[in-house]
């Protein structure tokens, strides 16, 4: 078993009470993706999202690896606000700090932020510790 710690990544948002733009730290994990016998050269930050049932990635990421996105199994994804997305499921491998996770991901033309969800990511690792006070996630592969 190998432990890897990911510190939250600085992002920005507007504080409602002051109206000022301030820093916010978000749990993002850099991932290299393999699919269709191709592996992405770059790492892409994916939001670690315990509220997401499955992995959901922007369709452009899959297309850059040669995936014919619309040839995948069509699925409907419902968001918290009731918004429905159409996505297509493909087999992929996630490369995270030397660990390989063979899994499935849904790709959507309507999704910008890549999401790592519970099924297909969190259930594929040994243990996850989230420390919100110190702003890190420790994953045991």
């Amino acid at each position: 078993m190998r432990d890897v710690t990911f510190y939250y990544i600085p992002d920005i948002y507007t504080d409602i009470s002051t109206g000022k733009t301030v820093e916010i730290l978000r749990p993002k994990i850099p991932v290299r993706l393999s699919a269709n016998f191709n592996t992405s050269k770059v790492l892409i930050d994916c939001l670690f999202d315990t509220g997401s049932d499955r992995n959901l990635f922007p369709a452009d990421w899959g297309r850059s690896l040669g995936l014919k996105i619309e040839k995948g199994k069509k699925v409907k994804i419902g968001g918290i606000g009731g918004k429905e997305l159409i996505a297509y499921t493909h087999k992929v491998t996630l490369h995270i700090q030397g660990a390989k996770i063979v899994t499935e991901a849904d790709f959507s033309n309507e999704q910008n932020t890549p999401l790592l969800g519970r099924i297909g990511f969190m259930d594929k690792v040994e243990e996850i510790i989230i420390n919100e006070k110190k702003r890190y996630i420790k994953i045991s592969f």
């Binding site: 920005i12 733009t21 050269k41 770059v42 790492l43 930050d45 606000g81 110190k134 890190y136």
Partner: protein, 62 residues
């Protein structure tokens, strides 16, 4: 402890864009309005980290 790679002012200029950072995240290598466009621009470069900078006026609730 996390690393503060860029100032709020620098990030604000990048909001709502896909950004390719150097591996240590201190330098912006390229940026684009969509992931597809950015990946085409940087396709021959390795070891970059790509991130979507969420618009500052919206909470992130996927």
């Amino acid at each position: 402890m996390y690393n503060r790679f860029m100032s709020v002012k620098q990030l604000l200029k990048l909001q709502n864009k896909w950004v390719a950072f150097s591996k240590d995240r201190t330098e912006v290598v390229d940026k684009a309005s969509s992931l597809g466009k950015l990946l085409k621009k940087i396709k021959h470069q390795e070891d970059l980290v790509v991130s979507f900078i969420h618009p500052a006026d919206r909470y992130l609730s996927p």
